[in-house]
């Protein structure tokens, strides 16, 4: 250090201190300065004695370091810290740079003397000479050409650096490392900065190099001289391997080819693990067979072989296994492992298939059964039938429809129940010649009342005659499968006001069984609950040419008008074609629950009541209005015809009636909003209803008859019950034989009305008087004259009770007898004390009713019995085992009794002695309470492999019982009779239920009288008793042996016998 001091003179008495001034001429080593004073005159300060203490002058130099000093780098990124010796007091700027060193010596040289532009400022720093050189061949620069280039570049740079200081920072890229940020600024207080060093990716070859990171504070950027030209260095010993990703583009072979991996049990799996690229020499992979010798020479080193393989699951067998559930011998036989060359178990690989031909071959080799979840690809109902290809309908083919506008083909259908509930789907087609009928339960929802629902008549088949409105486009029913011909359709729409037959009734048991009301038989046996088309009238608009209206929902009355309740298609067919479709509909008005979300769409004639109305003081709040559902005020009718429904806020509250429960409203303030929504309260709870659908096929008879007017009409078709034998489940043909006896033939009037109100047990007194005598036996003589015909019309058939609601006889009607099914049915009558007063009358009435069940006397022997041939009809025997002889009522019978209003019995009346027991009141003996029909059937033979069943005969008899009131428990009240009221039990007469039964039994008899069996076989039931029957003595050879075919068994048996005979013949054991 070089300092220049300026002399100072101190005047006498001026002060005691002197201020010395100096200039720094040159920085350098510390110097020791000593000041000496010499006084002019006097002896106080002499040069010898007044020398001060020496002072040392040292330049304040900052220290900067890079941490760490030396870094081994294996990654393409490195971080280091530039650290000051103390927090900066002013701004300090550093500039860093990376340079590559050719050798350890060069690197050490750079690191020891880091250069700082522009002045080469050499100052003592830590010596790098103690750094050990990087291992394995960092100095071997011959392996890569680029390294050589780097070396030369660096040499030049180094020379430049050494020779001249004019080379500016950063000197351009001699290394693949770079600094993303090379300028670092220390703010006052900072002590360190992070330096990031990155490598240019990708790394295509292994790199080993020495890189020096130098940082210095150039004077251009720094005002504070403390750190100017202060520099430091970091030595990076870089050892990077190449990126090991597989570069397929280098591969010379077809990239789609797979390498078949051999079974490593016999072949080494990975003889060269570093051979990553097929057909290409992988750098550093000395075992790669694709590498030429010259390439191998360029490798600096070989990649060490990968161990490969995977540990087997051996833990459970090793001695290290401490699981408590190991075998008890495990400690003795456990495996102790030190190291293993085990490569694991491998499986055979199958090459992937590359072309569709091989795919099919491979698939054909599989044993897959072909069952899969593969989508069969049906998005519409596609019919499957063997006869679809031919023209014309065959039985079972779906009936087709055609939409005229689009020529689309569809299926004719009616709603049918889906699988397991009575909820209906409309997607199941109607099949040709397959009758169907169904009933669908519908919930009363307003959403049903649209033009495209099951309630809309427009959705069903519409007549082809429709011309109102003109040019309608109705769906055509195709008359023959495979063609586009449309079958004519006629429709009849019946309108009914009475929908009780379709709606779930709310009739309860209590209502149907009143305790004090006797119930007997109905007046006439027409069931009012059945739908009778003849009772209905055609809809007023239905002229056969008018398009049916869509159902309309009336928001006022909640009625859906013109809703289809029943639809019936009668399809007339001939051959393979539909000749005519006659559709019959019943339309009615059904009440449906209001859906608050549905609003009237077009031209509403009223304003629907908003659901959350605020009741007004003027509303009739004090009464709990049953008809709350009628909430629509009439006042708004006019104004609302063209406007949309008013929002709730705009509706004047004065126009609204009470819509909430009045009890609630009266207690709460008027302004309080009601807690319940109106539709929920008022419109829910309409009964659900049922729709009935049926399809039946009628043969279009070619024969035509003249009717009374001389017009040709289709001849009547008689349905047969089999040909020739009866078919199970078909109607049993019964009727009344009509003979040439004019008085009978002409005056058939049946059933005879019973003038004494036969339905009731309470008859006029005159009816009760002379029953016994009027019921005198009527002759059983056979009818005179020849046979004409058997009248098989409905009124002459055998019948059974068909119990109605609550199985009361009063609600019941009749049903037919069907072949082969044993039936038990019946109904209940309810009688009280009064009805037991006259047992004769009761007996007569019962018999009267029961006789109506067997009005005929002939039963068809075969299913195709001809009504004109007497031989084809067998006799029905009546309860007294006589052939039934119909005797028509005549006015002169009986003549003996005076003025009896009782009509004579229609049937033979057998003598009924009036016993004294009848005198016991409340008990009636020998009352016919049921009929039992026995029908004898026989298997007459076979026709086309089918057993033909015939009816041989039939008999009807009565079940006769003793009827009396049960005098027990609460029923005992009945037994007080007319005295009940006097005991204050009851004013009215309680009744009790009595069962009236009707049964059918089919009894099979042999068609041919069987021969009487030998006594040994009596009770034989076709079983081999004790396994010792005669026919199983040689069981293996008989037909009874089920193990194998009879012929085969017989052949084996005969062969065995032959073998034994031969043996005997050869051995001659008897000689």
């Amino acid at each position: 250090m070089l300092l220049r001091f300026y002399d100072e003179t101190v005047l006498v008495g001026d002060s005691t201190g002197v201020k010395m001034t100096y200039d720094v001429i040159e920085h350098g080593d510390p110097v020791v300065v000593e000041c000496t004073a010499v006084s002019h005159g006097g002896t106080q300060y002499l040069a010898i004695t007044s020398s001060g203490d020496p002072a040392t002058f040292t330049t304040d130099v900052g220290m900067v370091r890079l941490i760490p000093l030396i870094n081994l780098v294996y990654k393409t990124r490195m971080e280091a810290y530039l650290v000051l010796d103390e927090p900066a007091d002013t701004d300090v700027a550093f500039t860093c740079n990376v340079v590559s060193a050719a050798s350890t010596t060069a690197a050490r040289g750079i690191a020891n003397n880091p250069v700082c532009n522009p002045i080469v400022f050499e100052r003592p720093t830590r010596d790098f000479s103690d750094i050990s050189p990087p291992s394995n061949g960092t100095n071997d620069t011959s392996t890569e050409a680029s390294t050589t280039v780097e070396q030369t570049t660096f040499s030049a740079t180094g020379m430049t650096l050494r020779s001249t200081t004019a080379q500016p920072f950063p000197f351009n890229g001699s290394t693949s490392w770079y600094l993303p940020v090379s300028e670092f600024e220390f703010k006052p207080g900072d002590i360190y900065q992070t330096i990031e060093v990155l490598h240019h990716s990708p790394l295509s070859f292994a790199t080993q190099e020495l890189v020096v990171l130098t940082c210095c504070a150039p004077y251009q950027n720094n005002a504070n001289p403390k750190y100017i030209n202060d520099s430091t260095a970091l030595l990076m010993v870089v050892d990077l391997t190449e990126d090991m990703s597989i570069n397929w583009t280098l591969s010379s072979t077809d990239p789609t080819l797979e390498t078949e991996i051999p079974n490593t049990a016999y072949v080494e799996l990975a003889p060269c693990a570093c051979d990553m690229t097929a057909g290409h020499c992988d750098t550093g992979c000395c075992c790669d067979v694709d590498c030429t010798d010259s390439e191998l020479e360029t490798f600096s080193a070989c990649i060490p072989g990968l161990p490969g393989g995977q540990d087997e699951e051996r833990y459970q067998y090793t001695c290290e296994n401490v699981n408590v559930y190991t075998s008890d011998w495990h400690p003795l036989l456990c495996i102790e492992i030190t190291s293993t060359p085990y490569l694991g178990l491998y499986y055979d690989t199958k090459l992937g298939v590359r072309d569709i031909g091989s795919y099919r071959d491979t698939l054909a080799d599989s044993d897959h059964d072909g069952y899969s979840y593969a989508d069969p690809g049906r998005r519409y109902g596609q019919e499957v039938h063997p006869d679809l290809a031919t023209e014309g309908y065959k039985q079972g083919i779906a009936v087709k429809t055609r939409y005229p506008m689009t020529s689309n083909e569809g299926f004719l259908s009616l709603p049918m129940p889906s699988s397991n509930t009575h909820d209906c789907t409309w997607m199941s087609p109607i099949r040709y010649l397959v009758d169907a009928n169904s009933s669908c339960v519908q919930l009363p929802l307003q959403s049903l009342c649209t033009s495209s629902s099951m309630l809309s008549a427009q959705m069903y088949v519409i007549s082809t005659n429709v011309d109102q409105p003109p040019c309608p486009t109705v769906t055509k029913v195709i008359s023959e499968h495979g063609t586009t011909d449309a079958a004519p359709v006629t429709t009849k729409y019946y309108c009914t006001d009475d929908v009780t037959a379709f709606q779930q009734s709310d009739l309860t048991t209590r209502e149907i069984f009143p305790r004090f009301e006797p119930s007997f038989f109905p007046d006439n046996n027409t069931d009012s609950s059945r739908i009778d088309l003849s009772q209905l009238s055609r809809c007023p608009w239905d002229d056969g040419y008018t398009y049916p209206p869509a159902p309309e929902y009336d928001f006022d009355s909640f009625i859906c008008s013109y809703a289809v309740l029943s639809a019936q298609y009668n399809i007339r067919w001939k051959g393979t074609a539909i000749v005519l479709l006659e559709a019959t509909y019943i339309l009615g008005n059904i009440t449906l629950d209001l859906d608050p979300e549905i609003e009237p769409e077009e031209s509403p004639e009223y304003v629907p009541a908003p659901p959350d109305l605020i009741p007004t003081p003027t509303a009739s709040l004090t009464t709990r209005d049953v008809d709350l559902n009628v909430t629509t005020p009439d006042i708004t009718t006019d104004s609302a015809t063209t406007s949309p429904p008013l929002p709730p806020s705009t509706v004047p509250p004065t126009t609204q009636q009470a819509t909430t429960e009045s009890a609630n409203a009266t207690e709460t303030p008027i302004t309080a909003p009601p807690t319940t929504k109106v539709p929920d309260v008022t419109t829910s709870g309409f009964p659900s209803f049922t729709q009935f659908f049926s399809v039946y096929y009628t043969y279009q008879n070619e024969l035509q008859d003249e009717n009374e007017d001389g017009v040709l009409e289709q001849a009547e078709i008689t349905e047969r019950s089999g040909n020739p034998g009866y078919i199970l489940g078909k109607l049993v043909l019964t009727g009344r034989g009509i003979y040439e006896q004019p008085s009978i033939v002409e005056n058939i009037t049946y059933p005879v009305e019973f003038n004494c109100t036969g339905n009731s047990t309470i008859d006029p007194p005159e009816c009760n008087e002379t029953i016994a005598t009027t019921m005198s036996p009527i002759g059983t003589e056979t009818p005179e004259g020849g046979y004409i015909i058997t009248n098989t019309s409905d009124q002459y058939r055998l019948k059974l009770w068909n119990p109605g609601a609550g199985s009361l006889c009063d609600e019941s009607d009749y049903m037919d007898v069907y072949f082969g099914q044993d039936v038990a049915s019946g109904c209940l009558i309810r009688l009280g004390w009064t009805q037991f007063q006259n047992c004769s009358e009761l007996r007569y009435l019962m018999e009267q009713q029961l006789q109506q069940l067997f009005p005929g006397d002939n039963i068809g022997k075969r299913g195709n019995a001809d009504v004109n041939v007497e031989d084809e009809w067998a006799t029905i025997f009546n309860p007294v085992d006589n052939p039934y002889v119909p005797v028509e009522p005549s006015t002169d019978v009986p003549t003996a009794e005076p003025t009896s209003t009782l009509p004579p019995g229609k049937d033979i009346y057998y003598p009924e002695p009036i016993s004294n027991t009848d005198e016991i009141i409340g008990t009636c003996y020998d009352i016919p309470t049921g009929i039992n029909i026995e029908i004898l059937t026989a298997v007459a033979g076979q026709f086309r492999g089918m057993q033909q069943l015939e009816i041989v005969s039939a008999r009807v008899n009565y079940t006769r019982s003793t009827m009396r009131l049960n005098c027990i428990g609460p029923n005992g009240v009945s037994c007080y009779g007319e005295y009940a009221s006097s005991y204050n039990f009851t004013d009215e007469e309680p009744v009790q239920a009595f069962l009236v039964s009707s049964t059918v039994t089919f009894i099979s008899v042999p068609a041919v009288e069987p021969e009487a069996p030998a006594s040994y076989y009596v009770n034989d039931t076709n079983v081999c008793k004790y396994d010792t029957c005669a026919w199983e003595a040689f069981y293996p050879m008989t037909v009874h042996n089920k193990g194998g075919y009879y012929q085969q068994n017989l052949a084996y048996g005969l062969f065995l016998i032959l073998l034994i005979l031969v043996c005997f013949y050869i051995s001659k054991p008897w000689w």
Partner: protein, 309 residues
């Protein structure tokens, strides 16, 4: 010139000893062992006496046209009954409802025995009445003929519960024979040929299912109705009846029985004889050895003179 054996026959050598000698005692012991040891072997190897056996037979089942039906609604008091027992109908006359019962027995294979019963019961219901549960007892006459002649009255119990009100119930199952003990091999078994339900009774207890089932379960032989496929269909239309459709099949049964005396002896004899032959052979060799080597003393009576003598 070669010489052939053209014929050979055994020569009987007789050994004689008096009764009180070791030889005689030995022979008695061997004889006893020859008979007893095979028995022990056959007996101890299990299955010597065939104590029970089986046979196959399709029963002759007749539907007796007797039924008892209980349909239950939502509440405890809401139920309907019907039966072919008029006393029961009388008891329940407040709940009585007369159905239409249609039944038919089919002999599918035409072997003279019915193979199944199809039964269809339509009970008229008010729309306000709903069925949630049903019990149906069907009564049969059940007969077996092949070994013992069994005749009994048996029952099929069909029942179902559903949380949804029903419109129709279909069931298809089998009437299976159930025996607690094997049947005898012959004779008449009519122990249980009495009514399952005592239709003559006028007491409610005799018609309670609990009592009927308890008595029924006391039987050694009975039948059970087994069906894995009941279908309950809900959604009854207005005015529609509740329909039960049942198919009851009569399958061929495997019947266990006690074999008779002679069958037992025959089967045991076959086993005994098979073992006996082995022991006769073994003890025969033993005796030959003993006597040929003169281990026991016996006088030898040869049919010919030895040359050395």
């Amino acid at each position: 010139m070669a010489v052939f054996e053209v014929y050979s026959h055994p020569v009987v050598v007789r050994y004689r000893a008096s009764i009180c000698t070791k030889t005689t005692i030995f022979m008695f012991i061997v004889f006893g062992l020859t008979l007893v040891v095979p028995f022990l072997v056959a007996y101890t190897s299990e299955g010597f006496w065939v104590k029970q056996s089986v046979y196959l037979e399709q029963p002759y089942v007749s539907y007796k046209h007797q039924l008892l039906m209980v349909l239950e609604g939502t509440t405890a008091t809401e139920y309907l009954v019907w039966s072919t027992y008029h006393n029961y109908n009388m008891l329940e006359q407040q709940r009585l409802r007369i159905p239409i019962v249609k039944s038919r027995e089919e002999d599918t294979n035409r072997d003279g025995k019915p193979d199944k019963l199809l039964i269809n019961i339509e009970t008229p219901m008010l729309d306000t009445e709903q069925v949630y549960s049903l019990h149906l007892l069907v009564i049969f006459e059940y007969q077996l003929f092949r070994f013992s002649s069994l005749t009994m009255e048996s029952m099929a119990y069909i029942h179902y519960n559903s949380p949804r009100p029903g419109a129709m119930f279909t069931v298809d199952g089998e009437l299976q024979f159930k025996q607690n003990y094997p049947l005898p091999h012959r004779g008449i078994v009519d122990t249980y040929n009495y009514p399952v339900i005592n239709g003559d009774s006028i007491y409610a207890a005799d018609y309670q299912l609990t009592n009927i089932f308890r008595d029924y379960m006391d039987r050694n032989e009975s039948t059970t109705f087994v069906s894995a496929y009941p279908v309950w269909v809900s959604g009854k239309g207005a005015g529609k009846p509740f329909i039960i459709q049942a198919t009851i099949r009569y399958p061929e049964e495997t019947i266990l029985y006690y074999p008779g005396f002679w069958q037992l002896i025959k089967l045991a004899w076959i086993q005994y004889l098979a073992v006996l032959l082995i022991f006769i052979f073994i003890f025969g060799r033993l005796k030959t050895f003993v006597f040929q080597n003169h281990i026991l003393q016996a006088a030898i009576e040869r049919p010919f003179k030895l040359r050395s003598e």
